[in-house]
Amino acid sequence: MATVSPTPLLKDELDIVIPTIRNLDFLEMWRPFFQPYHLIIVQDGDPSKVIKVPEGFDYELYNRNDINKILGPKASCISFKDSACRCFGYMVSKKKYIYTIDDDCFVAKDPSGKDINALDQHIKNLLCPSTPFFFNTLYDPYRDGADFVRGYPFSLREGVHTAVSHGLWLNIPDYDAPTQLVKPLERNTRYVDAIMTIPKGSLFPMCGMNLAFNRELIGPAMYFGLMGDGQPIGRYDDMWAGWCTKVICDHLGLGVKTGLPYIWHSKASNPFVNLKKEYKGIYWQEELIPFFQSVTLPKDCTTVQKCYIEISKQVKVKLGKVDDYFNKLADAMVTWIEAWDELNPSGVKPAELPNGASK
């Protein structure tokens, strides 16, 4: 049997970004897997509260005061009282890769009973190519024991760079409020042993609970929007980032994977609270999806930032009439890119990709 080479740790190339308003007790369970890495804690809510980080972790912590100090007036683009604030962590990171996880997500077990090292799987997903141009019925062809199926063109078998690795959740599934209300007891017990590339041209609901990405390839697109305090909507932060990210990845020829790894999601949030947050989103998404499905980016949008600014313009034109919120969001998208570029000057900026293919 061929020996499987160990996954590189990437411990100096990856930051773990964790938004929290409660505590970081969950890190104890993750210690064997997370301790080699640098953590970026984004403390939401009351900045005077002291969030204790368990001993032995290397970290930097930012509360609202820090965010305001670092970004000045541009801090307006970072949400308050919503886990969307996590994207501040992406902006201040200096690493190539990001893994973000919620503070109610724990280590899951695979069907054999073994603890799942979610970070290891995300790294594997990010380091090997994606295949967005043709669906492989055996899922990820680069996995041990898998391959491309008959009929898969050889010219497409090299794949493209993977920008995003979207993991899943056992136990409490990521349902919206109406579904939670109807099925309060449903638990996800199905372990689907697959990773797959989401085909080019297909949108998906990206959940931020267990997510990794190549910050150099796609970081500026991972803006989690205006949510929470003072905003008419919540629980659509990761959705918004996911739709923008997917459109940009499709345009630039980058891949988005979904599937393994699983984490164990322990806390079901209150469905009535969720419903209040999501309410507008449930209606707005009926406009948002056709919008994103029809976004086209011009050929000269060859960087993520250019693509993102272009999307913000289209948001203003086409979604501004749905609700004034989208005018504010479009402005915040621009502010985000300005802040990103300020904190990540050209030395660290991802190189322009040649000939960004238009849709």
Binding site: F135, D147, P153, S155, L168, F204, P205, G242
Partner: protein, 353 residues
């Protein structure tokens, strides 16, 4: 929006490439015995078929094929393509078709997988091609649509085609099979999913089910390789017709699912021997896939048959000069649509031919 399918609406179609079907039929007996079965013998097969007792079946051999379609057309049905004759003469609404070197698989708990029942479930529950659900099939027990999935898309569309997978010997092309001669698939991925609209997929013919009335005209053995043989990695006909099916389904707003059920494919053949033949199929794929990716169907194409005609004409125009096999494929598709009108679309009230 779940449909209910009755047993008498289903035909199980088996193309017999090998003559002794005894162990095949006996192993599938628990799953097959309720249904009517059509067995079509490869016209090139000389030996008598051996089929065990106790099934409700009709067997078609070369003389029957000649009688129905004429001996000049019957060459279309040689080798693996013989099963298409079964699709043509079936009088049922749904077809489930499995290669004769596939047996029931075991799931991770050790239970035998009822591939027939799973295909029926796939066809009777909606497909969701317009937005990817990260928890896969939302209509499976214990699953649902995830947060962020638009409500207006949650009723889904009709699933017209279900494509299953294989444990043990996977459906590789000959080069991959030869390179990884000892690799066997033991990974049971417990999921069914809809292949998104606009995304093409290589649909293997080894383990499939479909709504015959809707997609029958697209399942045509059109792309026959010059060196086509009696091993799956020496064929392309299913890949070509699968791409036709997907393009037509995308155009008409129908769904194609992939994933469960698994069947267990027996080891058979030597891919290195096949490699000595020209890698015709592998080379042709490089033309076939970009062609299908660029095909645009007109608003006037409102049935699968219409779509097939437009694809055939486009193939003739764009690929005809690249390789004569494409011009022949285009002609075969047009002939098939006519044949389907004559023979295939006779209603289920009529007696079988």
């Amino acid at each position: 929006m779940s449909l209910a399918i009755k047993d008498d609406e289903i035909d199980i179609v088996i193309g017999a490439i090998r003559s002794d079907l005894t162990s095949f039929m006996n192993e599938w007996r628990p799953m097959f015995s309720r249904f009517h079965i059509i067995i079509v013998k490869d016209p090139d097969l000389k030996e008598e078929l051996k089929i065990p007792e106790g099934f409700n079946l009709d067997v078609y051999e070369k003389p029957d094929i000649d009688r129905v379609v004429g001996s000049s057309t019957s060459g279309l049905f040689s080798g693996y393509a013989c099963r298409y004759f079964g699709y043509l003469v079936s009088r049922k609404k749904y077809i489930i078709s499995v290669d004769d070197d596939c047996l029931p698989a075991q799931d991770p708990k050790g239970f035998l997988v009822d591939a027939v029942a799973q295909h029926i479930t796939n066809l009777t529950t909606p497909a969701t091609p317009f937005f990817f659900n990260t928890l896969y099939d939302p209509f499976t027990e214990g699953a649902d649509f995830v947060r962020g999935y638009p409500f207006s898309l949650r009723s889904g569309v009709k699933c017209a085609f279900s494509s299953g997978l294989w444990l043990n010997l996977v459906d590789h092309d000959a080069p991959s099979q030869a390179l990884k001669a000892r690799q066997r698939n033991s990974r049971y991925v417990d999921a069914v999913m809809t292949v998104p609209a606009g995304s093409l997929v290589p649909i293997s013919g080894i383990n499939i089910a479909f709504d015959r009335e809707v997609v029958g005209p697209a399942l045509v053995p059109a792309l026959k390789l010059a060196g086509e043989g009696k091993f799956r990695w020496e064929t392309m006909e299913d890949i070509w017709s699968g791409l036709c099916v997907k393009v037509a389904c995308d155009h008409l707003g129908l769904g194609v699912k992939t994933g469960l059920p698994y069947v267990r494919r027996i080891d058979r053949g030597d891919p290195i021997v096949s490699l000595k033949k020209e890698w015709e199929g592998v080379k042709l794929t490089e033309e076939v896939v970009p062609f299908f990716q660029s095909v645009r169907l007109s608003r006037e194409a409102t049935t699968v048959a219409d779509c097939v005609v437009e694809v055939a004409n486009a193939a003739k125009e764009r690929l005809g000069s690249t390789d004569p096999v494409f011009a022949r494929a285009a002609k075969a598709m047009l002939d098939w649509v006519n044949l389907w009108k004559l023979v295939g679309s006779i209603s289920s009230q009529s007696p079988a031919v």
